[in-house]
């Protein structure tokens, strides 16, 4: 299932589905990657235990957003809604898989969302999760699951904002570490055309690093452009906000993927693929 150390391969891709717009974007992205890697799609719908328990409490009320209307939550309503979401998710998965000509399976689990995702993710090489864009009020509800997965998942993780697609040019931060080499390898496999390589090295080492990256790139016959950035993660984040291009592919051990910084990745408003 897992490729040998140093090499990454996606054979089974887990995509978290809940019939929401971000999850459908994630499904589309997962299918795009799966088609490239000839992988199987595994759809998972988690019946959120928190919601069910919330509904079972007699005094809880739902405050509508943005209507601010307070209304009771009935367990049977939540059950029904979850069943409907599961059905819609499965249908969406079937449609996309058929369009991309992919093998697929679907399962429904009940429990804590993150826990269930991590559990099922053990059977997969890559987790694909949709995250909401900027529309949700405040920061609280946004990216909580994404952040939790970034912390806890041992598998590669693709976080897809709802209005994004996997599209060239892909972005890779290359610093010569094995982790960044893995990221570059995945990018080269995924990129059809166009790759932007951000080279992180002291000025003196940059030519050597560029040559190294160029060698890897040329082997795959991909057109790439190179840009030097400083080692400061804050600067890297600034560059990542401004630079054109689509999905960022990042090695799991690279500085930006570390605990204190990775929450910023969600603010880049671009898809992020974390290679582990």
């Amino acid at each position: 299932m897992i490729a040998r150390a140093g090499e990454v391969a996606f054979r089974r891709i887990l995509v978290a589905l809940d019939a929401s717009t971000p999850s459908l974007a994630a499904l589309e992205a997962a299918a795009t990657v799966a088609a490239k890697w000839e992988a199987e799609l595994l759809g998972l719908f988690v019946e959120d235990i928190n919601l069910l328990q919330l509904a079972a409490l007699p005094f809880t009320r739902e405050v509508g957003f943005p209507s601010a209307i307070r209304r009771p939550i009935e367990p049977q309503d939540i059950e029904r809604r979850l069943r409907a979401q599961a059905r819609l998710s499965k249908q969406a998965l079937a449609r996309v898989a058929e369009r991309f000509n992919l093998r697929w399976s679907f399962r429904t689990e009940r429990g804590q969302i993150v826990t269930q995702l991590l559990e099922v993710a053990r059977e997969a090489d890559l987790i694909v999760l949709g995250v909401r864009g900027h529309r949700v009020a405040g920061r609280m509800p946004r990216g909580a699951i994404g952040q939790a997965l970034m912390s806890a998942a041992t598998r590669s993780l693709l976080l897809m904002p709802e209005d994004m697609r996997i599209e060239p040019p892909l972005l890779v931060i290359y610093d010569g570490t094995p982790s960044s080499r893995q990221a570059l390898a995945v990018a080269l496999r995924q990129a059809q055309d166009g790759l932007i390589v951000l080279l992180v090295a002291a000025p003196a080492e940059q030519p050597a690093l560029a040559r190294e990256a160029a060698t890897l790139v040329q082997d795959r016959g991909v057109t790439a452009s190179y840009r030097a950035v400083g080692a400061d993660p804050a600067e890297q984040l600034r560059v990542l906000r401004d630079v054109p291009g689509g999905t960022l592919i990042l090695g799991g051990d690279q500085p930006l993927a570390r605990d204190e910084l990775r929450k910023h990745l969600l603010d880049l408003n671009r898809a992020v693929l974390l290679i582990r």
């Binding site: 328990q53 409490l57 007699p58 405050v63 209507s67 601010a68 509800p141």
Partner: protein, 810 residues
Amino acid sequence: MATVQRLPPGALCLHIDAREFDFETTAQLEDLSQVIGQARAMDAIRFGIGIRHLGYNLFVLGPPGTGRHTIVHQVLEQRAKQEPDAPDWCYVSNFEQAHKPRVLRLPAGMGVTLRDDMQQLMDDLRSAIPAAFESDEYRARREEIEEELKERHEKAFEELRQRAEKSSVALIRTPTGMSFAPTRKGEVMSSDDFHKLPKQEQQRTEAAVSSLQEGLEVIIHQLPQWKRESLRRARELDRDVTKAAVTHLMDELRKKYAAHSQVLAYLEAVEQSVIDNADDFRHQEEGQEMTFLGIPVSRAAGSAATLRRYKVNVLVDRGGAQGAPVVYENNPSLQNLVGRIEHLAQMGALLTDFTLIKPGALHRANGGYLILDAHKLLLQPYAWEALKRALKSHQLRVESLEQLLSIISTVSLEPEPIALDVKVVLIGERMLYYLLYQYDPEFIELFKVAADFHDDMDRSPENHRLYARLIATLAHKEGLLALDRAAVARVIEYSVRLADAADKLSIRTRDIADILRESDHWARDSGRDIVTGPDVQQAIDAKIYRSDRLRERLQEEIRRGTLLIETQGAVTGQVNGLSVVDLGEFAFGHPSRISARVRLGKGEVIDIQREIDLGGPIHSKGVLTLGGFLGGRYAIDRPLALSASLVFEQTYGQVEGDSASSAELYALLSALAEVPIKQSLAVTGSVDQYGRIQAIGGVNEKIEGFFDVCRQRELTGEQGVMIPAANVKHLMLRRDVIEACAAGKFHVYPVTTIDEGIELLTGMPAGERDANGLFPDATVNQRVEVRLMVMAEQARSYSAAFESGGGGQA
């Protein structure tokens, strides 16, 4: 018996002697600078255009072809040059009420300048405004506003979350909103676990959740308000940035148009609108046309369309023109007069804006003169009423026919009316003038000046010279060959014939110009470089030949005996009358047989033409006059016990006019007196109740018509035509007729009374009453009177016998 003398050949036609002219060709003559023969009309036109009071518009009336258009144009052009320059008129957007575009009145030529300036301003704004919004300063301030909103949100939710945490409660997202629930180890507490809690704890939690929900509601309620505040601040920032970019550009324009308050007010409105709509300048789709299902939609949608509102629609551009405008509208339809609002079809809907307002003739002529053909104007639906409305209100409104009639209901405009200062010159025939005068009460209020054009002028040696110069001018203007003296003399003769009076000259310049053009053609055809008398004659002959197919056909039928006309011998109760067929450009005469029969009756003269509705009212008048004559002359003291019937033989169409009334009376007298009438003579002339012969029209054509019939049968020397003596001055006969008369083969007799005529026709004296009041024996009048007396007596006897016979039959 006083014999009527035939007219000498010299009286039959006016002959202009070429030797009276002291030039060789018209090339030596100076062009006429003044109009000849129209002094009255010219005075009226000068008065009409000179007077500046309201309602003093002109109606130029007169027959077509008298040079009305040319003269009116000339006079107006001369006058207009001396008048102040007319202004430009522009429509611009009304930013407050888009459907009511505003009008700008600008000095001549400034409209286009303003339009170009506005275009340049838009081009400048399209780069200046986006540049201002791309500045670091703007970005920083904008982010500041957004960040503030974000912080406000976060702070509110964070405080709520902290409050929740204190009570071991978590904020949970639900599919359609948010909720609070007690948690344990990060998970929502199950119902069972919750109920296992101490009652007090449960109550505390419930209270906390309830309170938190209220807090959440308050926050969610406040979110839109915060958003609005943030947007308002962002808008203010945008306005400040836009204003900074716009003001210095606008200042340049304000300086340029400082003397024009209307433009300054417009620029003020533009500035305000640009500031309010800066987004239109920031997001552009230049170069690409939006389409939907292949249909372009960029006009109504998108910023390019919205920027149209800053355009200037120059309705009237007087740049480069001097003085007041003189406009002639050949097709005076409603829209061509008052302008129109065009529409664009957009996805099946019709859309418009102020740039689609198009000017009419009144717009173009505003500040000057508008010339219109009355007939064309009246033929156009609603145009006359619209013209009157505009002239009465002194305002020009663009009115669309569709809206006037409510045919379509679509988005349309109500452009601000334009102040109208125009003098309208209507050109039309007299009949139209009098009809309008009679039936349209507003007409005389608006067209107070009538310029009446003559179609002829007096003939005199001085006028001959002027006429020669008119011919020279026309030939010169048309680029025709010069005419020699003989040609000029022949043209003047032709003009006299057109005038239908030997002492008049026709000033229908169109007809004269036509004959000059055609003479030029024949002269060139013969290889001459000068037009000679024969060329003019050839032109006249060819013109007649082209038109006289019908005359030839009638003559042919007479020759073949289909139409019965006798030209020799004598017949009782039958006379050759003469009538004219007018084909518009060409008229010809031909004889018709008129017959009369009499019998005992009640004193009526039956006009068979009238009985079958083929006689016009004037013809009937002529016939009824006969009864008056008979009764007045022969039966003053006894009943007119006569029943007479009169008929135009072999006519199958309408007979109108009273020119045959004398002929009918001769036939009637012949029938009553039983005296035959010479068929070698033809008769024309109307008669009054006293037997006096009155003038008629078309005398030349009538004589020529009978002459042609006689000539094709051989002229006997007896044949001729009796005409009213009053028509002698109208004689302008063809040369062949004059030659026959000079040779004594044909005669023209001027007649003043019925008595003269009947003597000529019958060879019997008419007779005058003697001292006893009786006509002498063997006179026509005596025979008529006796016959009528006998008839009256017979009538009396019949009446008495009927009455006594009726009583004795009991």
